[in-house]
């Protein structure tokens, strides 16, 4: 059996999966599993390569996918229905907000099983904010407050490598993952509420993107930074703020405190959910389903998610983690009004369109020839494409 895992900037996820597989192999000595780690783009290309030439480009038996890819690839016939074969799904042992989006159109079928989730939040080092922020809970609740605080923060002496803001996991350019929480925070989105038209250029959406681009323009975040290349990951001690959707390793030692993502009016947050799916072309559906069922067992799901600072999706362990979490209060606020990316057929493509917009703009910002009209023009073009897609699919 072959498994494709989505790559992660935090290598602990790959190691955690390796150890998960070792335990599975110990429990089922007859199993023969290989896994490879694919980037999001690599996985996307592999799925379409399979559709074009299934013989030459076989799919893995089990695949980790972003939850909102489920609708697209199930409609294209690539995924197996898991609802009857997987007890956790049959018994609906997942939080309602996850199932609601997963089974958007059909209550009885589910083509992937929710595995783990993460929620972008703001981390800060109180020491670094001395003299810049009096009351972090209040001042950092809004985007404007956060943005003003970024300007007031000063690098401490003997910290030449200090940065006001760090965004672990950035691919170098501004990406959809960076801007979406802010777009959501402004109550924008990629589509209208009835999903009949694209709204890339709507004021709230464009404004949310612009908020993040402004951080790059003003140098608060560095584009295409060679930092990780030549200096490794930036230690938390070198930053005043970190925006991350993961619990940060050693956050207690660094004195990091956590707050919800700034400027989220509902007090909740954007949740990113990742699922396991079984390929419709697998030769051994039973074995693939058995692995997914095993990975979803509370002990296994919990250990895997814990190892790289995310939440398991299974309801019992999710609630347990929430209870035991040091920042329980913040997480409870985040999960009080959770919002998920729509699991719609054209949504993943719309994200790719926006990704291309952000790549073009990132290059312009890095070359220092970016102008506000560039954003408007790019968004109008991408919106036209997304509308066209909606008319086709």
């Amino acid at each position: 059996m072959i498994i494709w895992l989505l790559s992660d900037y935090d290598y602990r996820k790959h190691l955690a999966f390796k150890s998960l597989l070792a335990r599975f192999s110990a429990a089922y000595p007859d199993s023969n599993i290989e896994f490879s780690v694919k980037s999001r783009r690599g996985l996307w290309e592999s799925m379409f390569a399979h559709l074009r030439d299934p013989k030459r480009n076989p799919l893995a038996d089990v695949m980790e996918i972003p939850q909102n890819w489920t609708e697209l690839f199930s409609k294209l016939g690539l995924l197996s229905d898991l609802s009857s074969g997987l007890e956790a799904l049959a018994q609906r042992r997942y939080p309602g907000f996850i199932l609601k989006e997963l089974c958007r159109h059909e209550d009885s079928r589910a083509y992937s099983a929710p595995w783990w989730l993460e929620a972008p939040a703001l981390f800060y080092r109180p020491q670094a904010l001395k003299g810049a922020v009096e009351d972090p809970d209040k001042e950092l609740a809004t985007w404007e407050g956060f943005r003003a605080a970024l300007d007031r923060v000063r690098a401490p002496a003997r910290r030449g490598n200090f940065r006001e803001l760090s965004v672990p996991g950035s691919s170098g350019s501004v990406s959809v993952a960076d801007v979406l929480p802010r777009v959501w925070g402004r109550r924008g989105g990629l589509f209208s509420d009835d999903f009949n038209r694209a709204t890339f250029s709507r004021e709230e959406t464009a404004g949310g993107i612009e908020d993040w681009l402004e951080l790059a323009i003003s140098g608060k975040i560095e584009l295409f930074s060679a930092d990780r290349f030549e200096s490794g990951p930036r230690p938390a001690e070198d930053c005043a703020f970190i925006i991350s959707s993961r619990k940060i390793q050693g956050s207690g030692r660094s004195g990091l405190r956590m707050l919800p993502y700034p400027g989220y009016p509902s007090g909740g947050g954007l949740m990113l959910v990742y699922n396991l799916a079984v390929s419709a072309s697998t030769r051994d559906t039973a074995a693939a389903m058995a692995f997914v069922a095993w990975a979803m067992e509370p002990r296994n799901a919990s250990a895997f998610a814990e190892s790289f600072g995310v939440f398991p999706c299974l309801k019992s362990v999710f609630e347990e983690r929430l209870r035991d979490e040091k920042e329980t209060g913040v997480y409870r606020r985040l999960f009080s009004a959770p919002e998920l990316k729509p699991n719609l057929m054209v949504y993943p493509t719309a994200e790719l369109l926006l990704e291309r917009v952000l790549w073009n703009l990132s290059l312009k910002i890095a070359r220092r020839d970016y102008e506000r009209e560039d954003l408007t023009r790019e968004l109008i073009m991408a919106q036209g494409e997304a509308d066209y897609l909606l008319s086709l699919y």
Binding site: K18, R40, R41, F224, F229, V346, M381, L392
Partner: protein, 508 residues
Amino acid sequence: MKKSGKILYGAEPVQPFYDGRDAFMKAALEAVSEQFALDGASFYEYYEKTGLLHLRQRHACGVSFEHEENLRPLAGSAAARAIETLAAASARTPAGSFLYSPFRFDYCDPAGGRSIIPCFGLVSMERSPRKRRFSPAESARADAFLRSFLRDYYKAEFFSLHRKYDKNVSAITELTEVFATALRVRESFRHILSGIQTYFGFDRVRLYLIDEKNRKLKGELSADIRGQIKSIAYEEIPLEAGAHRFADIVLGRSSGAFMERYKDCVLYMPLAVQGVTIGLLIVDNLLSQQRIEPQELAMLKSFGGQIALAVDNSRLFDKVEELSLYDELTKLPLRRYFNQRFQEEFYRAERFKQPLALVWADVDYFKEVNDTYGHQIGDKVLKEVGRVILSNLRKIDFPCRYGGDEIVILLPQASGAEAQRLSQRLSQELAELRIPVPFSKTRELRVTVSIGVSTFPQDAATMEGLLEKADDALYWVKSHGRGKIALYSDVAEEKKKTAAGGKTDVNG
């Protein structure tokens, strides 16, 4: 040295071949990590235009993985030096020791193009701060080790391109055959679309044809990435400038910046024969947002003429067939076509024990109409009769202009009573017709029809018998005042009674 690439050919391989560049990169990083006790190794491609390094593959903590990372080396750094001088360079930072081994080779496009394909990048090798740094001797050894691997990278790349080239050659051969043999419209359009999908595998292919009469661009068929083909006949675009992007393309008008943005994942290909545009073929990768390779675009464009000819040929073939099977005046099938269908329907009725009715109609005094008012008015009468008949039939019914003013209608799964009801409806509608005759006193002409009906299996057990009985019934109507309908069963009953001395009205 362990090389885990898939060996594709050669019994005793000295140099293994890797199944594509990903397999090669993974093997190279795993091998160099093991050989030089590295904590991490990454394979980057360098894009000179943007000055960015793109991470392709990384190996760390015993796991190889793809990851998305784009970065610009700091000016003056070891990595920047390595790219500039194409020589290995090392550095020590608080994060550990780094060794950068650059590579660059250019090769000709194996597809036969004149372009040079550059392959430029570097491999980064890392050790944690606790471990020893890279000595000059070790750096040289690691660089040499990687260069020996890169010879295989060249081969892996070349192999991938060669495979593409092979695919293209097959596509040219087989698609040419598909286009050359396409004849009947429905089937040929399907063949053309599925042929394109088999070899190119686009997200979607759509075919639109120009309806010159109505000045419209009409949707024909669409094939999706899974090869499923469906009709898009519901799509109709007015062929006017500015009405739609497709119309503008067909009319040869520029469609501006929007098209420019699309050019990597959509191809709009107007289909032209002898300088006349007959349709539009659209292929796209809009859902996957994947770039259509320039070679694929070029090849598809080169097929454009053949596709257009195939489409045009199949339309002409259908037109010729239509002319030989249908009567131009009444739009009803001709006797030859009817005989073929009659045989099929009769066998079906026999096999499934279903009723089959045959209606034989004749326009009353048609010869006199021709003689009195001329053939032009006679033709008008026949045209109207054809229209009325076609508008009153079910989809499974089959009418035919049997000869002159005689019309035969086949009614599968219909009983005598059902055939009689249809005949009454036709008779009534035809009687209500007013054919304008400007030069006559009445200024108009009215027509009636005589109709005879026979049914299988009641009246006859053979095709000839069924025709004969319907003709008998028609003859009975004609000899009893015309403008009426008779079922053969009633006529036979009447004949029996007449023979026995009685008389009954057989009209419905």
